[in-house]
């Protein structure tokens, strides 16, 4: 498959992906509403901050942090790991392999196409809430310019890790368990549950280098204006290095895995 053919087909794939997201809108909404962990965490930290600020965060600061977290999580969400492992187990992947487009490219279009709808549903609500905590958001326009590539990097990294772990289903059955373990560690180290700068120093030092931070915390840090322009640029570079590494790994594992694939069911 040539890259040009994929590029030509991509807009059409995005359109069909968007149409299917609209078609299943009730389910779509319910999946969105079940992303409520940032708000639950906000309830705890807001209660803690009632008796004075915690670290760099006041009650409003926590509100800003967790609202940004919620927004980033909604915009960078993906579900390819569940679809991929199921299709490998049921043999549906065979059908995808027959098409003249790489299955992972097709999956990426389906997942990416849901982002605009999620944005449309989430943005009005989040904008109103954000307005109420606007004093806590960053003021440096340069950081806001960097936000789109950082968000796209976060989405791509999320997608690639899911694709990588999902591909492991070609080798053994419990690939989804590996992903659940990844989710558990990621919830802690990506800043989803607790802002990374509230962890003890030793934990922080590790968390800042691991890929988890670039899935979620990094775009949030940009929105809150936590970095100088230069440092932020370096972090963006690091994020995209992780993206490149994940792309390479996914490619290798996919190729080696396909050689052993014997479509069950057919």
């Amino acid at each position: 498959m040539s890259l040009r053919a994929a590029a030509r087909a991509y807009p059409a794939l995005l359109r069909t992906g968007f149409a299917s997201a609209v078609a299943y809108r009730a389910e779509f909404l319910i999946w969105m509403f079940s992303t409520n962990m940032p708000l639950i965490m906000l309830a705890l930290w807001a209660a803690v901050a009632r008796s004075g600020p915690v670290g760099a965060y006041s009650e409003r600061g926590f509100a800003a942090y967790y609202l940004c977290t919620l927004l980033v999580r909604l915009l960078t969400g993906s579900w390819v790991v569940w679809e991929l492992t199921m299709e490998i187990r049921q043999g549906v992947l065979a059908m995808r392999l027959l098409r003249p487009i790489h299955p992972l490219v097709a999956y990426s279009a389906e997942n990416l196409a849901a982002v605009p709808l999620r944005g449309m549903v989430a943005l009005p609500v989040v904008c109103i809430l954000m307005w109420s905590v606007r004093g806590q958001l960053g003021h440096d326009p340069f950081l806001w310019i960097m936000l789109p590539p950082a968000l796209f990097g976060a989405w791509l990294l999320t997608f690639l890790v899911m694709a990588l772990i999902g591909t492991l289903a070609l080798y053994f059955e419990s690939a989804t368990s590996i992903f659940e373990a990844w989710l558990g560690v990621s919830a802690v180290l990506s800043g989803y549950l607790v802002p990374l700068d509230l962890f003890p120093q030793a934990v922080q030092r590790i968390a800042l280098f691991l890929p988890f931070r670039f899935l979620l915390s990094f775009p949030v840090e940009l929105m809150l204006g936590k970095h100088g322009a230069q440092h932020a640029l370096a972090l963006l570079g690091a994020q995209w290095l992780y993206v490149a590494a994940a792309l390479l790994a996914t490619n290798l594992v996919w190729r080696a895995g396909l050689r052993r694939y014997a479509a069950y069911g057919g």
Partner: protein, 262 residues
């Protein structure tokens, strides 16, 4: 009544046998459950690394609430949800006919249809959390406190199950919405904090409308010997009324059921 118990026993034996076929999965899922308990504890550990008390709850007291949360979450995701998810599947495919045809109460049959026995790890984890918390408190709960906590726990389980039944009843009217139970599971995460964490509208919502916060807070208060008798009795009365309401909605929904297959 004896017949109902026999049915429950037989169903449970069958579902445990079914789940125990996958031994490796048992180990893997057990390990995952431990990982998730750890992830649940992390925010509380961070908070109490910074503060001594949060809205009047000290670290060991908060651990009691979390212990009940871990235990109830285990019951919800290990027993209630798997069983009731099969109901939604039955409604969608029309195979609920086979359940309704059996000479026993349909609600009873579907409620113990499927188990994930590795979730027993959650109950063990809750036990460890309780032991540690009371070690920190430097005392053991009295028999009366344990008894009161047990009564509140039964109430909490009943409410949990009733909400799940209500959610599943929606499947009879809106067949396409099969992830509602998942939504409830994620909303249940609210129960990890004591009810006094919430203020204003949320406090009312999680105390009276969707009594999630009380499910873990009241048993924890009972263990601490701080739950007033009047409050406890009121909560239990509310629980029974709620369960009766859920049962009524279920019977109404069953009557609406028109098989999808035939």
């Amino acid at each position: 009544m004896r017949r109902a118990l026999a049915i429950v026993r037989a169903q449970l034996r069958a579902s445990v046998a079914l789940a125990l076929q996958y031994r490796l999965e048992f180990l893997v899922e057990g390990a995952l459950a431990i990982l998730w308990i750890a992830a649940t504890l992390v925010p509380v550990l961070v908070v109490f690394g910074i503060r001594d008390a949060v809205v009047g709850w000290t670290f060991p007291e908060m651990l009691l609430v979390l212990g009940w949360f871990v235990a109830l979450k285990g019951v919800l995701e290990g027993a209630v949800s798997p069983s009731l998810t099969t109901v939604i599947e039955h409604v969608r495919t029309g195979t609920l006919d086979f359940v309704l045809l059996k000479p026993a109460d349909a609600q009873l049959l579907v409620s113990v249809a499927k188990l994930e026995p590795w979730r027993i790890v959650d109950l063990a984890g809750a036990g460890v959390i309780f032991a540690y918390a009371f070690g920190k408190l430097g005392r053991a709960p009295t028999a009366g406190e344990v008894l009161a906590a047990g009564a509140m726990l039964v109430g909490a389980l009943l409410v949990l199950y009733s909400i799940a039944i209500l959610v599943v009843s929606i499947a009879f009217f809106a067949v396409r919405v099969d992830n509602l139970l998942y939504l409830f599971q994620s909303v249940f995460d609210v129960a990890r904090w004591p009810s006094t964490i919430f203020r204003g509208f949320l406090a009312v919502l999680f105390t009276y409308v969707l009594p999630l916060a009380l499910m873990t807070t009241y048993p924890a208060l009972a263990l601490l010997g701080r739950l007033r008798l009047g409050t406890a009795l009121g909560a239990l009365a509310g629980t029974v009324a709620f369960a009766a309401f859920a049962r009524a909605v279920w019977t109404l929904s069953i009557r609406k059921y028109t098989s999808a297959s035939s």
